[in-house]
């Protein structure tokens, strides 16, 4: 059974199996025999893998698993490959600027039809009391600027859309 795990923006495709006595995680780098046992603490587990034993605290969210281990906290994104194939996990694209957090548009520098160069300012937004200038991710032509000055936007709203690149 497959999962794609995302750690620090890097994706790794894995396959979990069971050989009759233990679980085996197949990663692109090799095979990891592993075992996870609860310790009794809330979210507490003992992980045995790759010949090491780690005490950890763990919580499973809808899209990511959070792990506290050796004094650090990690987020591990989980994607079901079947859902990705169905296009339901939304993918990044260099055609659009997506709001990294909710905020307000301070000013808009371009309009649909404008030709822009990579790095050229497209709009200025304010989020968490901080002004940020968003720039063109590549050379291209502006297709849509959905928000006007003063408009509020939500997390992951599309703030600017470039026309698809012609091959």
């Amino acid at each position: 059974m497959q999962r794609i795990f995302q750690i620090d923006g890097e994706e790794t495709e894995c396959w979990l199996g069971h050989d009759g006595s233990r679980f085996v995680l197949n990663t692109p780098d090799g095979t990891v025999a592993c075992q996870l046992d609860p310790t009794g603490l809330p979210g507490g587990y003992t992980l045995r893998a790759k010949g090491v034993v780690r005490e950890l605290r763990l919580a499973v969210g809808p899209e990511a698993t959070f792990v506290h281990m050796d004094g650090r906290t990690y987020g591990v994104g989980r994607v079901d490959p079947a859902e990705r194939l169905a296009g339901r996990d939304g993918g990044a694209s260099d055609d659009r600027l997506v709001a990294p957090m909710p905020g307000v548009v301070v000013s808009v520098a371009v309009k649909p039809g404008d030709t822009v160069e990579e790095g050229q300012p497209l709009l200025v937004i304010e989020s968490m009391k901080l002004e940020t200038t968003l720039t063109a991710p590549r050379d291209g032509v502006v297709a849509e600027m959905p928000f006007a000055e003063g408009d509020s936007f939500g997390l992951k709203d599309i703030l600017a859309q470039l026309a698809p690149e012609e091959e």
């Binding site: 894995c14 075992q35 989020s127």
Partner: protein, 489 residues
């Protein structure tokens, strides 16, 4: 004017912290809650909760008439403002006065004077206290740019009505001056409704050192020693400590007495903080005075043994200061870490999410002032600071060791926080030696956000084995096929 029922006009960790002291003093307590706000620790501590509403949660906490009406309705005879929100709003103080409710804080005149950076500087300078070279737009707007130029580079543009680093701009080259002035003006108008500016010489690699003061409003002022707050990112403090590792005993005496002198000059009432820029050559300049309890006040409590909120409540009730200067010790060393919902590896983008598991550290010399509950939700409605971790040790080395141990054992799962980043700062050799300036975080950003040891395999194994659907799918495969991994399509 005895106080019997206190409304805390704030939220999060500071509301909880103020409520604890108020209850210990036997007061009836009330706290605000916005209709769309998650339940927090403060709501569990307070005897009563007053609901407020507004176009946004923050707007509700800034709504003077609604909060004054809530205080009247619930029969509160005093209001503690916490920090932020209306804590330094002279109009709020005046409205409470009119309603016959005691404000736990300074007079509206002191807030007005110190809230206007320009007037505050002039006031301090006229009385012979040190300030950095500057130019003030209001003196003659037509020549402001030329006078700014004459101050010399690098210089710092600040909104006259500003605070917390908002709208502040460092300019190093003349070519950028006019654009930066316009940007700062825009930000000043938006954040503070006031686009007036001033500039001052930017002191390179300075330290930020501030002094806690407390006055009775009759001219009696004591100080509770200094706090070093040089660990800042974009003018926002991240780690604070006391004593400052930079000061000799003589310098400490001088800077603390200067602060007390400034507070005495305004016959200051209540808790305040005088902030200084401390240059590498040992010179220090008045920066501003904050007329409220500061976020970082707990480190002062840890080394002096005083409860500053209790002192505030005493003074507001007309009981005066509980101590004279000679009774205020500075024992051991204390460090505060601000735990924030943000992703240090993604330019400190605010993080949101559900708190799936919360286990806060405990132990000798460890204090947590928390604004979150297990199962709560972190949104961008409010500031990203979730809680404060404060430690005390017999000396700085022990305090650092305790801080590291505590932050490593601070379990918050479900929302990304800066605990790893804080630990990286604490483990940096320059922090250990105390040799830092306000530029430290920016200069060391690469090292401080560097990824640790690669434990991806362990993390993926943990994520896979705790994924119930994945595990049950695996176990449903007939035994002989289960280990046929790698077979795809």
């Amino acid at each position: 004017m005895t106080i019997s029922k206190l409304l805390v006009a704030n939220r999060g960790e500071i509301a909880a912290r103020v409520l604890r002291t108020a209850k210990a003093r036997g007061l009836a307590t009330v706290v605000l809650r916005h209709v769309a706000e998650q339940e927090g620790p403060a709501h569990l501590i307070a005897d009563e909760v007053a609901m407020i509403d507004g176009p946004t949660p923050v707007a509700a906490y800034l709504d003077i008439s609604q909060i004054v009406a809530a205080a009247k309705k619930i029969g509160a005879d005093a209001v503690h403002p916490g920090y932020g929100f209306l804590s330094e709003n002279a109009g709020f103080v005046a409205a409470l006065e009119e309603a016959g409710v005691t404000f736990v804080g300074p007079t509206s005149q002191a807030i007005d004077l110190m809230g206007d950076k320009v007037r505050a500087r002039a006031f301090v300078e006229e009385r012979g206290f040190p300030v950095a070279p500057s130019a003030i737009e209001d003196d003659d707007p037509a020549t402001f740019v030329d006078r700014a130029r004459a101050v010399g580079y690098p210089l710092l543009i600040k909104p006259s009505a500003g605070g917390g680093g908002k709208g502040m701009r460092v300019v190093r080259e003349d070519s950028a001056l006019e654009t930066e002035i316009e940007t700062a003006r825009r930000e000043g108008e938006r954040y503070f409704g006031d686009g007036r500016l001033f500039v001052e010489r930017y002191i390179e690699s300075p330290r930020h050192i501030e002094v806690q003061v407390m006055g009775d409003g009759q001219g009696n002022v004591v100080h509770f020693w200094e706090r070093e707050c040089s660990i800042q990112r974009r003018f926002q403090k991240i780690i604070e400590e006391t004593p400052s590792p930079a000061l000799s005993p003589e310098q400490r005496q001088e800077i603390c007495e200067t602060a007390a002198g400034i507070a005495r000059a305004v016959k200051y009432r209540g808790a305040g903080t005088v902030e200084f820029i401390y240059a590498r050559d040992g010179a220090f300049y008045f920066l501003e005075m904050n007329t409220r309890l500061q976020v970082e006040h707990p480190v002062t409590e840890m080394v002096t043994g005083f409860d500053l909120v209790a002192e505030q409540l005493r003074i507001a009730a007309g009981e005066g200061l509980s101590a004279v200067q000679a009774d205020i010790p500075q024992t051991g060393h204390s460090i505060e870490l601000r735990i924030c919902a943000e992703d240090a590896t993604a330019d400190f983008r605010p993080a949101i999410g559900d708190i799936l598991l919360l286990d806060e550290p405990q132990g000798e010399g460890v204090r947590v002032d928390s604004g979150i509950l297990d199962g709560g939700k972190v949104t961008t409605d409010f500031d990203p600071m979730l809680s404060k971790l404060i430690v005390h040790g017999r000396d700085r080395a022990q305090a650092i060791a305790r801080a590291r141990n505590a932050v490593q054992n601070y379990v918050i799962l479900g929302v990304t926080t800066n605990t790893g980043y804080l630990d990286a700062i604490l483990s940096h050799p320059d922090f250990a030696s105390g040799d830092v300036s306000t530029g430290f975080l920016a200069e060391q950003s690469e090292m401080l956000t560097a990824p640790g040891e690669d434990v991806s395999d362990l993390l993926m194994a943990a994520a896979a084995l705790s994924d119930d659907r994945l595990v049950s799918d695996v176990m449903q495969i007939p035994k002989m096929h289960r280990k046929m991994g790698g077979w795809r399509n």
